[in-house]
């Protein structure tokens, strides 16, 4: 679910771009409106159901609940276990995103600018986590850490390492695409010819021109880590992440009253975290896109030589 929210942000920004470019044509406008309406319905109805459920006292026989209450929200927000699960998940996802960016950006940059021969290696590595089920990777990591560093088993650092390993392709493909689009090899040469040191070239030319890819990749890896369950279950059992807590709530339905309602609250909170991040990314990238798009704001450029 978390991953879906992240990628839907990307889809939305792409759709917005294509809508802009075909504005002239009025044909298909109706079709687009219908499609948009359907998509809105498809995304909103489940969320609305969850939202209503989180306020429901009892919801069994009728279309709408029998009554409404704020109890579930109050109880959930006050629950120290949930607070700690959110804290763990957000730290985990943030560290995963930061670690992935720190590792992947130099590697992608190096493979493009300095040594094209490592590209095939990097690309294969970036496809592996998509090809193998996370459960397999998780068991592999557990076996491996058992041999190499048993004291890390079941701990937060190992889970950060595991999540970084499965989420880095999101960063790689986003960043690599941004680098290709920006023509980073040429920009680097230009910066060098202008007298910039490698550090100056990186900070003042490379990073600003791939920032859209950085933010998108960072968000995708954050979302992948935030919503990841299988690996957390296997190598982070002693931890309490939001998906682990949610799974426990689902299993304990018959024991504890209101566990589904509290689950609804947590689902909405998760959604809110990812939605706010996505919105920030779209907002942030919009400035970038407008500035970097060909012909942007250049209505009066022609003829002036």
């Amino acid at each position: 679910m978390a991953v879906e929210a992240g990628s839907s942000a990307v889809t939305k920004s792409r759709a917005a771009a294509s809508v802009r470019s075909s504005d002239r044509k009025s044909v298909g406008r109706v079709g687009r409106a219908v499609f948009f309406g359907f998509a809105l319905f498809y995304f909103c109805v489940p969320m609305a159901a969850v939202l209503i459920y989180s306020f429901a006292t009892r919801w069994t026989a009728n279309v709408l609940p029998d009554g409404y209450t704020l109890d579930w929200w109050r109880a959930t927000l006050a629950d120290p276990r949930i607070q700690s699960a959110f804290f763990t998940s957000i730290s985990l996802a943030s560290l995963t995103a930061i670690l992935d960016i720190a590792v992947v950006v130099p590697a992608a940059y190096w493979s493009r600018v300095r040594n094209a021969r490592i590209r095939p290696v990097v690309e294969v590595a970036a496809a592996v986590p998509f090809a193998l089920p996370y459960v397999v990777i998780a068991f592999g990591l557990m076996q491996f850490s058992g041999v190499v560093a048993p004291q890390f088993q079941g701990t937060f650092p190992l889970l950060v390492a595991g999540h970084s390993a499965i989420a880095f392709p999101f960063v790689y493909w986003a960043v690599d695409g941004a680098m290709a689009a920006a023509g980073i090899e040429r920009l680097t040469e230009t910066a060098e010819a202008c007298g910039a040191s490698p550090y100056q070239a990186l900070m003042r030319v490379v990073l600003p021109n791939i920032s859209a890819g950085l933010v998108t990749g960072g968000l995708l890896s954050f979302a992948a880590s935030f919503g990841e369950f299988a690996m957390a279950q296997i190598i982070g059992r002693s931890l309490d992440t939001v998906p682990l807590w949610s799974a426990e709530m689902i299993r304990s339905y018959t024991d504890t009253a209101g566990s589904y309602n509290r689950l609804a609250v947590v689902t909405l909170l998760t959604f809110a975290v990812l939605f706010v991040l996505s919105a920030l990314v779209v907002y942030w990238n919009r400035g970038q896109t407008v500035r970097l798009l060909p012909g942007a704001g250049a209505s009066d450029q022609g003829g002036r030589q």
Partner: protein
Amino acid sequence: MSGVSLVGVTKMYGAVKALDHVSVDVRDGELLALLGPSGCGKTTLLRCVAGLERPDRGSVEIGEADITVTPTRERPIGMVFQNYALFPNLTVRQNIAFPLEVRHRPRTEIDARVYELLDLVHLTEQGDRYPKQISGGQAQRCALGRALAPNPEVLLLDEPLSALDALVRGRLRDEIRRVQQLVGITAIYVTHDQSEAMAIADRVAVMNAGRVEQIAAPADLYDMPSTQFSAKFVGSRNAVELAVRNGQVGIPGSFQIDAPAGSNGHALAFFRPEDVKVSVGDDGPGMAARVELKIFLGATTRLHLVGEADGEPIALFGDLPSRRARQIGEGEMVRVDVDPDHVQAFPV
């Protein structure tokens, strides 16, 4: 004094010799064009001066300093690339300021210099625009300003006009020349367009297959190409293969010159279409030829002519003023004469 001197520069890409012992001297304040077809090594040579390629052998000097292994950023160069390589995240003003900022110059000095350069390349009004908001010609002028900002000793231009349309190209070419002469900077200009090279350069170096074929002033190069390749590549020329008789080659009734040294049976004679004299009628000097095709080019008209020498057909073309060409129709017989002073022959 900062000319550029390249001595015995060799660069291999695998087994391919991109540059084969190239030695060139660029004089102080001169604009030297490197002219040649794609793959001749002209861009590689420029990149060796910029430090973006390192020669396998040979040396590169700017002024008195050997910079063969100096990193690009420490070389006293400014560079303009083919496809407007402006930084998209910076405005025109910030692009021009960039080389000064990375050198940590004081702010007041940077502002004054940027102002001066915007004026020099006529972009004062576009200073606060982003590269995507200006035209291709403006982008290259901005790139020129950026290249000149740190007062480099040598300006390197890598096909700066090739991405522009024809009208802008001519204007910007003259603009680059004006700025180069005003600043008095030594410049190396890479191009595959011979008319561009001849219009802008003090001297042209014709390159082919990793070697410099000839270095000469444009007029000399046009009049007297020293090698067969230069003759073929510069200007449009007739290239006629002729038999060598008694140490001479020629078209009977038209011209006769000494055969080039080393020719063996045949020689290739080069002469320009404007040196072909066409007269109407059967009498008069020259070889009899038939007008196969007339192509109107504006001031001149090009005639495709077929004559005969030693029983072999000879195809050549001649340019004559369009007013005169009006009298000549396709299919007519004319006399064709060529001034022997303007014929060059090379061994086949």
